[in-house]
Symmetry: C2
């Protein structure tokens, strides 16, 4: 029969297995970050290309596509390395189904690129397809953050996910602005969407800041120098006024693209730091858990030796002193897991916003026969029209579920 | 390279593995129910035995101890059958550490029984030790409910957990009343505790009722006939008045014990129904998931065949029609998992009460240097003194965390 001590060891081994899975996931997240970055660039370039009717960025686009294809191979390799056979991966059902979505979207990419090259697709449609693909990649990161069982690692993943999400809003802003400047006009809906993207970026970077340590905050601050931000804000002002002024200024599309790209590339450096921090954290936690397991086994061996010696004198299974030692170890471990669970719940609460948005979207899709993009647009539009936060609108929608 | 389709299959396989683990856990929960029931009886008998200074229930106690030992062997066997080697069990860290607690408490039981037999332990101390052990067993059930990934099974586990918890409060009431009637007196604190146990039972059965279907509700109602309840309430009234009247009536301890035991035995029948419902549900879900996986594989094989035929004509990886089919399958699965996740979160919310109580206890233990029992008593006492619900007190304590 397995003893209390052997179950304590087994519990520790499960913790180590959880950490090892998180370490693997962190590698995957880094690879996803690289692919996201490359695709974001391709999306921006494609927008200038389409907006300028093929006059600009033709060569850059082909070079960027080649880069994307290389990074994509790396990510596919990482997916391939995941253990899909045993059904033993934690959170595997959700993670794998998210990966299936990504792979299906990646498979559809060559056809989309062909249509972009032939200028046979509107900029908006091309952007929407890339937004969906990148959104799918980010959801893989979200699932990783949501399934983490260690609160510190969960914090790091939440920070990284929000940073990547914020960077993606910046990328969408780059694409939107590129198309607007290249074509020389933007209607009121465009401008509203633009403002929404700016606000969303700030919210995501705010959450990331809340969950990051000082060194990372400094790196983030250093990546956003004042003069670059001033230039960005100036261009944003001109861009958002396009619907009123409507002057085409194709040069500005290059200036805008470069300004955004410099900023987004700087973000990538910060993202890499966040990723390195996460991987280092996993390594440290695994080493620590292994050392603790080793210590625990040594203590247990000595306790059992005492027990065997004692059993010469008494018929009870263990002596009372040994019983107290075991009780102490059991209680210590239970308290530690309890504290971890509490902290984890606090960290995870920050992921709830995305969950309620998803739920509200699902509700609108089901009751209003909308697709995902339309449902999200409806929520965003309502928030803008009523000048309320997206979160408040979403909660109002969910509260009215019975009436929809 | 693994395809989108193979990841869809892998996701399904993970769902099946999750369900299979839940089925195993359900077996474990049934075994725990049997042991809990036997220990509850032993606790009641021991209380009459100790309260009557060994005059009553001497033989019954020995017979009940033997029964407990038999059921204990069965539970130990179930623990033993758990796969502790691979570190691969979901929620393994928490579950195994809870099991370690139970095993340690079971190991300490023979010594406690010896002291009870020698009347060398106060009834209250013996009860407290048994309450801790049974509490540990119920926490194993709680962890199972908290880690379930299927909302319907989670519902069934939440219902079962709350029922077992309610039954345990009834058992504690039986023990408390047995000791009070046998010794002929109960102070004000005893009476307050008694009232708390009655209220706690009702809350637990209320939650269980919310999560159960009609057939189970009928069984529950049938197990509580009016005349038996009237007798119970009459005895409760006499018992709670003991602190004022203080008349010893040893016969009443037998009447009380029998009345409670009949009720608790009837509860066990309902608990068995809940357990059977849970196991049936697991079986059905597994069969259904396997059938769906089989169908999915057939569809995929035919899709891939079409793709291979099509690839004779085109260089693209899949044709556009195949692409749409895959996208449909991916979206369908994502929506299903999303809906399951939403429902799961709603069901799990009902488990939060226990979690906040645990957190408040932990806080008091850390800041006031109390042990677990003392911390819980302090919360309960505060609720009684202020005539507020335990939940409100607990939330107030957590809100004041920074000041403690």
């Amino acid at each position: 029969m397995k003893s209390a001590l052997s179950f304590l060891v087994a519990a520790r081994q499960c913790e180590i297995a959880d950490l090892e899975q998180l370490a693997l996931t962190s590698e995957l997240v880094s690879a996803i970050g690289r692919l996201t970055h490359a695709l974001q660039k391709e999306r921006g370039i494609s927008n200038v290309f389409l907006g300028s009717h093929g006059a600009r960025f033709g060569d850059q686009r082909l070079a960027q596509v080649m880069e994307c294809e290389q990074v994509e191979q790396h990510v596919r390799g990482q997916f391939n390395g995941l253990n899909t056979d045993s059904g033993g991966l934690r959170n595997g059902a959700r993670l794998f189904s998210r990966i299936a979505f990504v792979l299906q979207a990646l498979d559809a990419l060559p056809a989309l690129r062909q249509r972009i090259g032939a200028q046979a697709v509107p900029a908006e449609e091309a952007t929407a397809a890339m937004v969906r693909l990148i959104g799918g990649l980010l959801v893989v990161v979200f699932e990783a953050a949501d399934s983490a069982t260690d609160p510190e690692i969960s914090r790091a993943l939440v920070a990284l996910f929000n940073f990547m999400q914020g960077k993606e809003f910046s990328g969408q802003e780059r694409a939107l602005g590129s198309a607007a400047f290249a074509s020389g006009h933007a209607d009121a809906a465009h401008t509203q969407h633009w403002l929404h993207l700016i606000e969303s970026q700030e919210r995501c970077f705010g959450v990331c800041t809340d969950f990051s340590d000082l060194a990372l905050l400094r790196a983030w601050k250093a990546s956003q120098p004042g003069d670059a931000m001033a230039e960005l804000e100036r261009l944003r002002r001109i861009g958002c006024a396009l619907s009123a002024t409507g002057t085409r200024n194709a040069d500005l599309s290059q200036v805008w693209y470069d300004c955004c790209t410099m900023r987004i590339d700087a973000m990538k450096t910060v993202e890499d730091l966040l990723g390195a921090h996460l991987r280092g954290l996993c390594e440290r936690k695994i080493a620590q858990a292994r050392a603790e397991l080793r210590d625990q086994k040594i203590i247990q061996a000595s306790l059992l030796q005492q027990a065997n010696a004692a059993s010469l004198h008494t018929s009870a299974q263990y002596g009372p002193q040994l019983e107290r030692s075991i009780l102490g170890m059991v209680q210590e471990q239970a308290l530690r897991l309890q504290a971890m669970g509490d902290e984890l719940e606090t960290v995870r609460a920050s992921l709830n916003e995305r969950k309620v948005v998803e739920r509200a979207k699902g509700l609108l899709m089901a009751t209003r026969k909308l697709n995902e993009d339309e449902a999200y647009k409806m929520l965003r539009q309502t928030a803008m029209n009523q000048n309320r936060r997206l979160r408040d609108v979403v909660e109002a929608v969910l509260a009215m579920a019975d009436f929809l």
